[in-house]
Amino acid sequence: MSNNLLEVIDLRTSFDTERGNVTAVDGVSFSVAPGEVVGVVGESGCGKSVTAESILQLLDPSSTSYSGQILFGGDNLLRLSEDALRKVRGYRISMIFQDPMSALNPVFTIGDQLTEAILAHKRIGKRRARAFAIELLAKTGIPEPESRMRQYPHQLSGGQRQRVMIAMALSCDPELLIADEPTTALDVTTQAQILKLLIELKDEFDAGILFITHDLGVVAEICDRVVVMYLGEVVEYTDVHTLFDNPAHPYTRGLMASTPGIDADPEDDLPIIPGAVPTLHHIPQGCRFAERCALVLPECRQQTIELEVLSDDHASRCIRSAELATGASLSNGGVR
């Protein structure tokens, strides 16, 4: 696909740690088209945030090494110089974070910070930048944007701060927006508003969004395509409808089952995924999910499991994915 905005090919990100080198992202590939929302889902330690930060290479350069390709607008971002990269960060790719408070400077007003960001990208005068800032704030649904401009970050609520961050991210008219758990710290009612806002703005700006989250509900709300990650690997990759209709990886299935829906039968116990995510220092042999998998077979532990392509836009890292994709209910015949 050549019309992709962003193409990540076989990305590997590893860190030097005190207990040796760990690979937090291990051979991840996916793409984002303009106007598309791609979700990266997984639990803590699955590498989803590291993937996002690898794209802009925001990790500590002294202890991080990358390999693979990150193609954006004809360039491999991993090959760019720091100067060239700076022209991409915040100009063509913007990022919003889970905690807007730490990304805003507490000693400057919202207006100062927003105007500053605009002036950094656009050759316009201070007056016009201010007017544009107010316009952006209004667009993100902040009431009374003019008076907000004079306020400091701590005077705003969490939802409003996140709106300011979104306004900042949009100030450069980015082609790609990376959102790293932008609604996790917010109340559900606020979360719903922010998700709605992101969708509207994406359509208006025709940007692609890479949406990092742990919440399948949020994925169902907003994403077009989904990358499910587990312990540094992509375990399933497909469009959102296929994912929810025919999940082809036991981990995806487990995640869906263990989320109590508001119309689940409260009389039954929740299905669980036993155990916990292993640390990157103790990556299991063979299938990384085998230890926690209800459908595990002896073969699972003996070989490296590759992503199996099931259809044009559906791949799953499981030797039983073909069976699973049919929607059959499977067991492992009691093997453990």
């Binding site: 009612t189 509900g217 949020v218």
Partner: protein, 272 residues
């Protein structure tokens, strides 16, 4: 056990936090909880839901005896049927609490056994053999063995720590546990483990839970009765199925429609 008898009641609880200036004059007052009454039945779960700042945690802390209410009082019914009326912050061994953050809620410098024994020592237990057996029982109840007791908190994952936090509450045989967002800091796959464990413990031990949460799906799964808090007041209270079937208050309706959908085909702005 008489199931409908309330074990914990809040009577017109209010809490006002005031900010004082340098000279001790009250400069601003914030009414965090405003005339909240509720009653928790033995062996049942009452969910207190609301957004951050709605006063649900403050209410929980008044019921726990951590905060003195500005007005109103709390009654706790003990195992022998006697009732304790509390108007000031006072700990009651029948009421225990589990906390949101599994990392800061365990003392990093103490072994698991020490942390659990501390709960018993606080209520005056000194006999080493009693300490040992009770701690072992509580750890067993949450799925840990003797061997885990010798370790330090940092050797455990978030979900495991939360189970240790539950064991710490269980070890003194409480009737009531105040659960303050006990799963919201955990990964999805771990949340289900903890929720199942809490339900099992309720069935086995007849515990009553006051469950503070902002997650409607957890409410649906775990609670028998729900109180919806908004700006310090309970704006709606109902049995769980009724609340989900027919929410009355405007805020409850908004809360329910804000819950993320569980399938993309349910999108309202169906753009496929």
């Amino acid at each position: 056990m008489k199931s409908d008898q309330p074990v914990l009641e809040a009577h017109h609880l209010s809490k006002t936090f005031s900010t004082r200036s340098f000279l001790g004059r009250t400069t601003s007052e914030n009414r965090a909880v405003d005339d909240v009454s509720l009653s928790l039945a033995a062996g049942k779960t009452y969910a207190l839901v609301g957004e951050s700042g709605s006063g649900k945690s403050t209410t929980g802390r008044m019921l726990q005896g951590l905060i003195t209410p500005t007005s109103g009082h709390v009654t706790v019914r003990a195992a022998d049927g006697s009732t304790a009326v509390q108007t000031t912050a006072r700990a009651n061994r029948d009421v225990q609490m589990i906390f949101q953050d599994p990392y800061s809620s365990l003392n990093p410098r103490r072994r698991i056994r020490g942390i659990l024994e501390e709960s018993l020592r606080i209520v005056g237990e000194k006999d080493p053999s009693v300490l040992r057996t009770k701690v072992d029982e509580a750890l067993n109840a949450v799925g840990f063995s003797d061997e885990h007791a010798q370790r330090y908190p940092h050797e455990f994952s978030g979900g495991q720590r939360q189970r240790i936090g539950i064991a710490r509450a269980l070890v003194v045989n409480p009737k009531i546990i105040i659960c303050d967002e006990p799963v919201s800091a955990l990964d999805v796959s771990i949340q289900a483990q903890i929720l199942n464990l809490l339900r099992k413990l309720q069935a086995d031990l007849g515990l009553a839970y006051l469950f503070i949460t902002h997650d409607m799906s957890v409410v649906r799964y775990l609670s028998h009765r729900v109180g919806v808090m908004y700006h310090g007041r309970i704006v709606e209270e109902a049995n769980t199925p009724d609340l989900f079937a027919a929410p009355q208050h405007e805020y409850t309706k908004r809360l329910l429609t804000s819950v993320p959908i569980h399938h993309p085909s349910l999108r309202t702005s169906a753009k496929a």
